[in-house]
């Protein structure tokens, strides 16, 4: 029941943000759409401790900022590679150990890698190995372990 309410509320807020219209009719329509989505999706109830929520949100914000900085830095690096007349790429696929047990953790690690320009996960092995295609495989392979450790620590601080 609580899970349904939560999903309805989130969908309602997103609908209101998109339509940017606070008339009563629109509020009602948004609520109905949110309710319909919740009924179709049938969310599973998950333990959500209110005491841990502020900390998790703070860590999420920290993670988002860290990811943004990473995206900007790598975006500039890739832009320089593309604009260089000699096109100095050393592409290749490297294996990065995710080092996380849960599927959610591996998926979010893969997302964080793929969202940064210049690196993208092509395949995930059974044991949580992320086969990552890099524009500069040699440079990426050097920093991959360290970056994954940091990523893992941040993701675990949000979900555990």
């Amino acid at each position: 029941m609580l899970a349904y309410l939560r999903l309805t509320l989130i969908c309602w807020l997103i609908y209101l943000a998109i339509t940017a219209n606070l008339e009563v009719a629109n509020l009602v329509v948004g609520l109905l759409i949110g309710l319909a989505i919740a009924l179709i999706l049938k969310p599973m109830s998950q333990a959500l401790s209110l005491r841990r929520l502020p900390g998790a949100l703070f860590n999420l914000a920290k993670y988002a900022i860290w990811l943004s900085i990473d995206i900007i830095r790598n975006g500039i690096r890739v832009a320089r590679i593309v604009l260089d007349p000699k096109l100095p790429i050393r592409p290749g696929i490297i294996a990065i150990q995710a080092g996380m047990k849960s599927e959610l953790g591996v998926a979010l690690s893969a997302h964080a890698i793929t969202v940064t320009p210049g690196e993208q996960v092509v395949e995930i092995g059974d044991d949580g190995v992320m086969y990552t295609h890099c524009l500069d495989a040699i440079a990426s392979a050097e920093g991959a372990e360290e970056a994954q450790r940091k990523r893992r620590a941040m993701l675990e601080s949000i979900f555990e």
């Binding site: 998109i18 975006g75 593309v82 490297i94 793929t114 993208q120 092509v122 395949e123 086969y131 295609h133």
Partner: protein, 121 residues
């Protein structure tokens, strides 16, 4: 204050456009599917997100839309480029100018396993 706001918006538009152009240039210049996906799927998304941010600064009424749009781009963009790259690899499209390929060994191992299972049944 007004001027600072204007300059900030203008900077976002210029940088966003530059990154979009870089995305297209990369799509043309890079040698194969995988490297092209880096340019088109990521740098291009980055440019689009900056343009959406600029739109939000110019017209506050679209702020909510811009935030949702940027969130969707950041969440769904990587999923799309991963799906394309994975599909390309499964089809056997070769990497060009590759310096290493850790996945090739894994793929061969899986193929051998599949072969073995097919023959033993």
């Amino acid at each position: 204050m007004e001027t600072v706001w204007r300059i900030l918006t203008l900077a976002l538009v210029v940088i966003g456009t530059l990154f979009s152009i870089v995305g297209v240039l990369g799509l043309i210049r890079l040698p194969d599917v995988y490297t092209r996906l880096h340019a088109a799927g990521k740098v291009g998304v980055f440019g689009a997100a900056l343009l959406a941010a600029a739109a939000a600064l110019t017209a506050p009424s679209v702020l909510g839309k811009a935030i949702i749009l940027i969130a969707l781009l950041v969440i769904a963009g990587p999923v799309v480029s991963h799906a394309l790259a994975s599909a390309a690899y499964r089809m056997g499209i070769p990497l060009k100018r590759a310096v290493r390929d850790d996945l090739a060994a894994e793929r061969d191992r899986r193929a051998a396993l599949r072969d073995f299972l097919d023959h033993s049944v």
